[in-house]
Symmetry: C2
Subunit: 481 residues, 2 copies
């Protein structure tokens, strides 16, 4: 009965929830850009005030400073909050992030990225789904219990950071430092920062790939040079860099770095079997991307490539000409950016060693007089969990509970058992919580696969956002059983 009341309350408050999402999307908390650091910090303070308003105690844990180029800027603090200290209740730790990826209308957005814009039941805006929308869902769920005078059946702790899109600098250390104080007595951890496998059916996620993000910098001159005046005499940095970047992969996407696949387990029959039951349409996936063809053809191979094999992507080059038109420059220093998605049993330190060694060898073979530097910009371990433990069962039931109301709305797909999936993306803190707190960590996605996190026209479906609040409210009840 509580659940029914909660769900009805949530439906009645849609407008209010959307108006709050509008407010947070407008805060340009792009953690990658030094110029947006004030906005990023402002976002943390905004959320701290909201937690205080639901009577949580909050602490802003400072992490010191960060140096971007030669400029030192403060890191955004981590928002730690606590609501309820009842020794008879279990304690749930909720993690989320308040920062977002860069976005500009000129990148190809149809609407202003920092203005929440609704169209056909979709709420467009940077951070709508990654991860401001889901973070707000926690707040709305708490608010629903409190307003209705229903006791929240768990103690809650919150850990909201604002550097997730930029390597979560300092967060691991903070968790380690506070594992016997703030993080003590946590029984379960829940993170809502990933996506359904498709667009119609919810899922629960029990595995993630890790991330090792590299920069390779080549410097050839003390200043940018005019290609007419100097071209033909200078060992150009871009020539070296494109050669190095092109040595990373073959034309089929195979990683060419020796030793990097060490630890990657062969696919088991059981694994292949489990993929067969999952609702996933390769054609729909290909169409949604807008690609003509994928590396793989079958559902099983596509899922395996995304979940349990490493991949390498080249993201771009800093320091080269990247504008429109024709600039005849020889850039003095260029920095290539690429990253490797790692899988369980791969060791990030070993992967990084392989990459650095390989690039050094490739560069040495060119006999270039230029200087090369390889840096690891971020590093996160892969993660895998036991999807049959109490935390996962609570999440799975919470999804099913949706039936109560979703059936009424003819959305009976919510009533089914959610798919059990892994994911290709990285949420490094997942593993940190698991390793440091030794508690089960549940990934409970609210957004759909076509939300376009990190992309132009990021959105969250209105229905996912509102039903997400219901799932979290239901999860509070399930986990307390």
């Amino acid at each position: 009965m509580d659940l029914k009341k909660l769900f009805e309350f949530i439906d009645k408050n849609e407008k209010n929830y959307i108006s709050l999402l509008n407010e947070v999307v407008a805060i340009k908390s792009v953690s990658a850009m030094a110029a947006n650091r004030d906005e990023t910090i402002k976002m943390v303070h905004w959320m701290a005030e909201k937690l205080k308003a639901v009577k949580a105690t909050v602490e802003l844990a400072e992490l010191g400073k960060q140096t971007i180029d030669v400029v030192s800027i403060p890191l955004p603090p981590v928002l730690l909050g606590e609501l309820g200290k009842d020794a008879k209740k279990k304690t749930l730790l909720v993690y989320g992030h308040l920062d977002v990826q860069p976005a500009a209308k000129s990148d190809g957005w149809n609407t202003e990225p920092f203005v929440l814009t609704e169209k056909d039941g979709k709420l467009y805006g940077r951070g709508a789904t990654d991860d401001k929308g889901p973070v707000l869902c926690w707040l709305h769920a708490i608010n629903a219990f409190q307003t209705l005078g229903i006791e929240i059946p768990v103690n809650l702790k919150f850990c909201f950071e604002a550097m997730e899109e930029s390597g979560s600098i300092g967060l691991d250390e903070l968790i380690k430092k506070k594992k016997d104080t703030f993080f003590k007595n946590v029984d379960f951890v829940c993170i809502s920062d990933n996506y359904w496998l498709g667009t119609k059916k919810p899922c629960i996620t029990y595995g993630l790939r890790g991330l090792s993000y590299f920069s390779v910098e080549i410097e050839c001159a003390a200043k940018d040079l005019h290609s007419g005046i100097y071209g033909g005499t200078v060992y150009e940095a871009m020539t070296d860099l494109v050669a190095l970047l092109s040595s990373l992969l073959d034309s089929k996407g195979k990683i060419l770095i020796p030793g990097i696949l060490e630890g990657v387990l062969p696919k088991t029959k059981e694994e292949i079997e489990s993929y067969k039951n999952i609702t996933f349409d390769v054609n729909e996936y290909t169409k949604e991307i807008g690609a003509k063809k994928l590396y793989q053809q079958s559902k099983e191979d596509v899922l395996a490539a995304r979940w349990r094999y490493p991949s390498l992507s080249i993201h771009g080059i800093e320091g080269a000409f990247c504008g429109q038109g024709a600039k005849t420059v020889i850039p003095r220093k260029v920095v290539g950016k690429f990253s490797v998605r790692t899988v369980p049993q791969q060791v990030p330190a070993k992967v990084q060693e392989c990459v650095i060694k390989y690039l050094k060898e490739q560069f040495a073979s060119r006999n270039s007089p230029n200087t090369m530097k390889v840096n690891v910009l971020c590093s996160g371990k892969p993660w895998i969990a036991n999807f049959k433990d109490k935390n996962f069962m609570a999440g799975r039931n919470a999804m099913k509970n949706g039936r109560l109301l979703y059936l009424m709305a003819n959305l009976n797909i919510y009533g089914a058992e959610p798919d059990l999936t892994r994911e290709g993306g990285s949420i490094p803190v997942t593993l940190t919580f698991q390793e440091e707190l030794r508690k089960s960590v549940l990934l409970l996605p609210i957004g759909a696969s076509d939300d376009g996190a990190h992309s132009q026209n990021e959105k969250i479906n209105r229905s996912n956002y509102i039903n997400g609040v219901k799932v979290l409210a239901s999860y509070f009840i399930e986990i307390s059983k």
Copy 2:
């Protein structure tokens, strides 16, 4: 005696000349950027007013519109001016450009690029030397004659454009269209838009390389993708692009495109001999660049590489991540930019055909499902002139005339015969004037080799700027003899 009076007047007016340069540097006439188009047009109008003030008649020749991405914006008009119609005098056509390369303080400028800043006798600012400073020198020279009441011994015509840094769109057509009207009766052409070979000795330039600027676009998806979610399944555009770019050159800078060197003449003994007399210090050149080593070691080889052999430079990538930090994006569409500097006897159309054919073959060999497009963004022919004709002799004498005053200032280097040089850069209009008007075109550089055109911290030396006015004034007299 006139020359002495003129030189004294010019020295007295230094402050005024610098203040005018300050004014034009502040106008952000970056032709490559659509957002700066208003400023670029404003710069043309500014100059038109100044020509009117010295009693020239002016015409703003409109060139229509240009489409950047999907946006259509007006092209800046070409400023055509005329001063003097005396049938007894020769007519000199002066060309210069009013637009500049992009510049931002964050690129590594020590001062604001659009604020002229003097330091140690150097005037820093975008366009100071390329080409706003030299264009103003013409104006100052005319002004000196007029204020002193000395008759200018030539008729003058002016052709000042504002799209030189962006392929001079529409200029060739305009010159062809008006060759029997505005450009009729021109006897000589002079362009001051290049640089001394070194930092101390003036030179006269009789050859230029041409330019063919290419973009190669690869598209893999309908939107940018998250590398965690999609990495490993998608044929990424960046993987294709870096492979294509790295197939253009070997590690020694040798161009790998078959057929592209067709027409490049072997070095003659006479040519090598002529290089021996030229004042050029390979060590100073290397040091100024800040390079550790060049492809060539000897003076003769370095000069030949810059002047009479083609080169290929990779400038950058549009559409990929080019900011600071770590963005885990798979860009949906990336556009590589590179250009080939061509030399006399190479045919640009043939060069372009070779490049396009080669890229198509390379791309086909990858079996990528992505789409590739190659475009020629700008094209300019190489140029070579007879340095013993009347126009060149006048320029050489104008340089030597400097002795009169420069000796007094202990700058006796100006009194010597200027070096006869070629240049690696491209000023395509040079060839258009030569071919369409069939008159001698003189390149008379005012700036020094270390001015950093197209680079951070572009500057013109105060002494080059002021002495430049004297050289031009002297050239008016020499060419009329």
